[in-house]
């Protein structure tokens, strides 16, 4: 057969063409929705800032958009979110890393094969379940131990958010540790290192950027976490460092406004978008950071 006949016999495949268009459409829809969401956020947020100054918003210490005298300082909500982030990090990061070290350095294949799937199941539990767990177990527990614990409090929410992101931290850190080549461990053992020294001084440092990326993703999930904090942490915008008090996070505020009867179009309603913009910016930056760090550590070991 010569080239000419090959060319003339080649057919146009309708099925393939349609499929290709279909896939393109799906890709287009997902990009388009993202663009639309960001667009609406931007428009509503800028209309909010025509009525409230950016400095008042970013540096104000009172958040009272519904009651007189009104105040639109986001710091109480930001502070509430930070309390949850710090508290949940204290729970999830060390325990998650320790769990990963166990999985990758000490666990037998059999133990791994049991624990890894369990982590994945834990990561799939709906967050409202964690919220319920916080209210019905953690808060009573805290009230048993400490005196001045409010019914809704940041600590309880932070603890369950920590438990919630723990499987993800463990799993990602485990991946990072296991990406450290075996030959590196052997090199360390060959100069008389104990398994603790190998783990703590060679493997963990070598996996540091992966571990860091896992931490950043965990923090960014804690920032965006909604259900558990709405249920357990309360609805009191409150600029405080005391985790036993009731607070409100940015996400919980958004839920409150969305569920309430705030008239749409009003200034109170627009706060929703301003807060959402802040939330969006923070998580976007965190995820970009994690991505960048993750890519760097993939480069180190091809």
């Amino acid at each position: 057969m010569n080239t000419m006949t090959l060319l003339t016999t080649s057919k146009y495949r309708w099925g393939e063409a349609i499929l290709r268009q279909l896939f393109f459409l799906c890709a287009l829809i997902s990009v388009l929705t993202t663009v639309i969401v960001i667009g609406i956020l931007a428009v509503e947020t800028s209309s909010f800032f025509q009525q409230v100054s950016i400095t008042d918003f970013l540096f104000g210490t009172e958040w009272r958009p519904m009651l007189e005298p009104k105040a639109y300082g986001i710091l109480p909500l930001l502070g509430g979110t930070m309390l949850i982030v710090v508290g949940s990090s204290i729970v999830a990061l060390p325990v998650g890393l320790a769990c990963a070290v166990y999985l990758s350095e000490y666990a037998s294949d059999r133990a791994r094969n049991i624990i890894k799937p369990v982590l994945e199941v834990l990561a799939g539990i709906p967050t409202v379940v964690y919220g319920y767990f916080a209210i019905s177990f953690v808060t009573p527990g805290l009230r048993f131990v400490f005196d001045d614990v409010q019914i809704f409090n940041a600590a309880s929410a932070a603890i369950v958010v920590g438990i919630m992101v723990l499987p993800m931290v463990a799993s990602l850190c485990d991946d990072a540790l296991r990406s450290v080549p075996l030959s590196l461990r052997e090199g360390a053992y060959s100069v008389g290192a104990t398994s603790y020294e190998v783990t703590a001084r060679v493997v963990v440092p070598a996996a540091l950027s992966g571990i860091f990326a896992a931490f950043v993703l965990a923090v960014s999930r804690a920032i965006g976490e909604t259900m558990a904090v709405t249920l357990a942490a309360g609805a009191t915008p409150n600029l405080t460092l005391n985790p036993l008090e009731s607070i409100q996070t940015m996400t919980a505020y958004i839920v409150q406004v969305s569920l309430g009867d705030t008239p749409s179009g009003g200034l109170a309603y627009k706060t929703l978008f301003a807060v959402a913009s802040v939330l969006f910016t923070i998580t976007l930056v965190m995820n970009l950071l994690a991505n960048k760090v993750m890519r760097k550590y993939q480069e180190v070991y091809e």
């Binding site: 052997e186 090199g187 360390a188 100069v191 008389g192 060679v202 070598a206």
Partner: protein, 253 residues
């Protein structure tokens, strides 16, 4: 092989299994002081497994079992109460692919002596090891650079320096030149002659020329068994076993 006074290591009836599968079968082998012993044989015949048993590196592989004894100056390395970490202080190791730590050149060499609290000035120790590994002149002005920026041949010499800094008695090398270019390879071979003055060396190699050039004794393995062991000259020129002859001539031819 008869037991001689200058045997540093002696494998006695060593059988090593991965699960059910025996990778090393009833091997008896003596390693002599301040000599270079080469282990040759087709790939998969158990060379690495045998070598790694000498510093208990197989401990990290799941499902490995071992029978027989490995005597290090009359102490069984697998005897009760023997600390594998301690064993590795006496037997240094250089691996098939250079595996420097993602740390500075200096820290690569200094790490082992530091964590083990070896006596003396660490700077001197690092310098001495790097000189012995014929790497000092190339790196003395950038000791704080990352070891990962070195070339493959330099990395392998760094790994040799890392082993030397521990001042072990025996150095185990598993195909140390297989990932290197000819120039780096010949540098490392030159180095072996130097090191022989102070160290006992066991080197696994698939390169017949290398084995015949550098070693005093040669062990030929096939299918997990030690087929022949003797003077390198004799093994290469007057092998006693037909299988050795076939392998050696085949690989040279």
């Amino acid at each position: 092989m008869n037991t001689r006074d200058d045997a540093v290591l002696e494998a006695r009836d060593v059988t090593i299994r991965y699960g059910e599968q025996a990778a090393v079968k009833n091997v008896n082998l003596s390693i002599y002081e301040k000599k270079i012993t080469a282990i040759i044989g087709p790939s998969g015949c158990g060379k690495s497994t045998l070598l790694r048993s000498l510093n208990r590196m197989n401990d990290f592989i799941e499902h490995v079992t071992q029978d027989g004894e490995i005597l290090y100056r009359n102490t069984n390395l697998y005897g009760e109460g023997v600390d594998p970490v301690e064993v590795r202080l006496h037997m240094g190791m250089v691996f098939q692919r250079p595996n420097p730590f993602p740390k500075s050149i200096f820290r690569n060499v200094a790490w082992g002596p530091t964590i083990n609290g070896l006596p003396g000035d660490i700077n001197l120790r690092v310098e001495r090891a790097l000189k012995q590994a014929a790497l000092w002149n190339e790196v003395k002005d950038r000791l704080n650079d990352s070891a990962l920026n070195l070339s493959g041949g330099q990395q392998q010499r760094l790994c040799i320096a890392r082993a030397l800094a521990m001042e072990p008695e025996v150095i185990l090398m598993d195909e140390p030149c297989s990932a290197l270019d000819p120039v780096s390879t010949s540098r490392i071979e030159d180095l072996l002659f130097e090191l022989k003055q102070n160290y006992t060396i066991v080197i696994v190699t698939h390169n017949m020329q290398q084995a015949s050039r550098v070693s005093d004794y040669t062990a030929f393995m096939e299918n997990g068994s030690l087929i022949e062991y003797g003077d390198t000259d004799q093994v290469f020129t007057r092998p006693k076993q037909k299988r050795t002859e076939d392998y050696v001539t085949g690989r040279f031819g």
